[in-house]
């Protein structure tokens, strides 16, 4: 039947630029770029990058083997040291979220579903090429169970065993061993040996990227803000797949522009704009729904505690003796000890971190995003809310997913929240 029809009216495959996912990306990107004034000029690099990769479906070239990671817990320095390129597979597209619904129960995390949807699709965007290895750290239940499914799609998968308690000595020892096993897995994959010089070079490269990120992070302390949170999220999102050195250079350029803005007394927002710390489930392009709603409503996201931005790049590694063993163990510690992921038994570090961000960045309130079905974030809200209520810091909890349907309702809630933050500010003044 189909053949008969196509014999008469030949059905052309739709070019990517006209596909639904390109449309989704295009809409969000246009919104980010066009609906806000005074975007930093240096952001053009990132706007162009996302337009090329997400809207036009351009390929992202890489060198060496491609190692996909499903979590920030996979040490990228090791991957670089073996001459391979890491790429973060966590996906933010609603289109893939729907596709991935086939794999997971109805109430599951959009991020996991979208990642599965992307990996199972024929046209994977961003067009990175097929990863030679997918590293899946055993963090939350949904990611753990995704492992076998990803393998079922024909990918080579390495389960990077990750402890779910981090305070104990046993956890540290276990995780260090796990990282060493990952290194030997990479050795098998690449056929290369890990050398001191290569690991040092890789660590210097990541270190430079982190230093650039920290500088950007510090510029966001300025009140009124020099840059909006939507741009900062776009920058860190680009780190998922962009060439690390090019990314670092672009961020350094952005920092230089922010320094100029600071010197000129520039304001990206009104001086009364409520300052918000963003926490919880990670915003990943094109799902920047919540940060965008906050900033459209006149607020500004000044800092975040999410694994798509701050948690991914903030913590830096210290090494005492630059010998291979010490470097690998120090790296392992960096990926475990400061992590504030909700999959751990306790969340004291996360609460302390959030309190510190609120105070250091002079924030007026916190927005807590939990993807429906992300049980760990949903469960942790109770303790985080208790902490913030006791400290008298307003917090807004939003359960949502990648679907655009709830935008209207969410914008009402966010506007009300920001309004209350403004009133508090006024009363205090």
């Amino acid at each position: 039947m189909a053949n008969e029809t196509s014999g008469v009216i030949p059905i052309q495959p739709v070019p990517y630029a006209r596909s639904r996912q390109a449309g989704e990306a295009q809409t969000v990107l246009d919104h980010i770029v066009d609906d806000f004034q005074d975007n930093p000029q240096a952001m053009q690099y990132f706007y162009d990058l996302f337009r090329r990769v997400y809207c036009h479906g351009e390929a992202v070239p890489h060198s060496g083997k491609l190692v996909g990671t499903t979590c920030i817990q996979a040490p990228e320095e090791l991957i670089y040291a073996f001459g391979a390129t890491p790429v973060r597979l966590c996906n933010g597209s609603y289109h893939y979220d729907q596709r991935g619904a086939d794999f997971m129960p109805a109430k599951s995390c959009s991020l996991v579903k979208a990642t599965l949807g992307m990996l199972s699709s024929e046209t994977v965007i961003p067009k990175l090429g097929k990863p030679d290895l997918v590293v899946n750290p055993t963090t939350c239940d949904q990611k753990k169970k995704a492992s076998a499914m990803i393998e079922g799609m024909g990918y080579a998968v390495h389960d990077l065993e990750f402890p779910n308690v981090k305070e104990s000595e046993a956890a540290r020892v276990y995780w260090r061993r796990s990282v060493r096993e990952f290194a030997s897995e990479l050795r098998k994959l690449t056929g290369q040996r890990l050398s001191r010089a290569k690991l040092k070079a890789a660590m210097a490269m990541t270190g430079r990227a982190q230093a650039a990120f920290r500088q950007l992070h510090n510029f966001r302390r300025q009140a009124p803000s020099l840059i909006l949170g939507k741009d900062a999220f776009l920058v860190t999102n680009a780190y998922f797949f962009d060439d690390i050195e090019r990314w670092t250079a672009a961020v350094e350029k952005l920092n230089a522009e922010l320094a100029e803005r600071q010197a000129a007394g520039f304001r990206a927002v009104q001086s009364k704009a409520p300052r918000v710390v963003f926490t919880g489930s990670p915003p990943i392009f094109p799902n920047l729904k919540l940060p965008l709603l906050i900033e459209e409503a006149g607020g500004v996201v000044v800092a975040d505690e999410t694994c798509s931005a701050n948690r991914m790049l903030y913590d830096m590694t210290a090494v005492d003796e630059w010998l291979l063993g010490d470097m690998v163990d120090s790296l392992a510690d960096k990926y475990l000890k400061p992590c504030t992921c909700p999959i751990f038994t306790r969340n004291d570090d996360r609460k302390r971190r959030l309190r510190e961000l609120v105070s250091q960045f002079n924030a007026d309130g916190v927005v807590y995003q939990a993807f429906s079905g992300c049980q760990v974030y949903e469960m942790e809200f109770r303790s985080v809310a208790e902490e913030f209520n006791a400290a008298g810091i307003p917090i807004l909890y939003i359960e949502t997913d990648y679907s655009p349907d709830d935008q209207g309702q969410l914008s009402t809630r966010i506007e009300a929240f920001l309004e209350s933050l403004k009133n508090r500010k006024k009363q205090r003044a």
Binding site: G207, D315, A318, V319, W322, D326, K334, D349
Partner: protein
Amino acid sequence: MTAAESVLQRVRGAVNRVDFNRFRFWFQLVAFVLFVYGGYLAIDLGSKLPFFSCGYNQEGRAGVCYLLPLQHQLGRSWAMLFSVASLVILTGFLTFAAWFIVLNKGWCGFVCPLGTLQDWITLLRRSLGIRFASYTHGQFAQLTRIKYVLLALMILIPLGIGGGFLSPDSSPPFCLICPARMLLPIFTGDFSQFTIDFSSKTAIFMTALGISVTGLFLVGSFVKKRFFCFFCPMSALHYLISKAALFKLKKDGSKCTRCGDCYAVCDMEIKEIADDVTRPDIMTDDCTLCLKCVASCPEPGALKATFVGIPIFESTEEGFIKRMNKACKHGK
């Protein structure tokens, strides 16, 4: 901001960005030369020093470690010990304490010649590309008590000698087994401590034990950073009076991300430095106040060294990035 304040701030900034390991290396070297060879320049800082400026290095020493006179004083006959004459023990202790409170355990991390010697052995190991050993959690918990046992023995044995219960050949007991007695005189060409005293059974035992401990010291500090400090009775004595010290290591737990960078560089494997976010006075009994933790902390103001409450050296992001980047590029 006044001009003086801005100068002060610039100085602070420069101090916090300092290439800390290099600074400490040179500081230790100068201190080593001073206390091992200072005697030749007629420098004498007394006999109540709170670190191992070994009295057996008779020509070169610029002062004497307090443990030597302390053990001699405690080893007096009991009749004398419990008389007014023992006021000197009290004044001696006060002099020792006065020295101590200035630098706290910083004497260990920056001045002690035996500590410096271990750091040099560490440099040698590192240049050979051999990794350091570390204790497991359980081993640490047990071994950390040994210094208190040694401190107790160091006090009880002289008392036993003074009471006539033990042979005077075992005096001063700690010095006889201390590696500094054998190793520091070597630097002035004096190898005379490398002998076994055959005059009595006790003397044979103590001097043989001394040689064994020195052997253990050399091997131990090759595989383990600051191997001996972990067992040092001086370190235990320090800790007992450290509350009064003027120089302090402070931690602001609210700024700590518990990333463990400080623990990663700690020669003494002190876990509390990274994990404890409640105690502001973070110096533990094993600490040598070497301040490497402060230099390797990326969180501004999370760790700081203070003198009478005034911050002297503070962790900063800028300092961290500079130090780690440099080390990463050139390798140290």
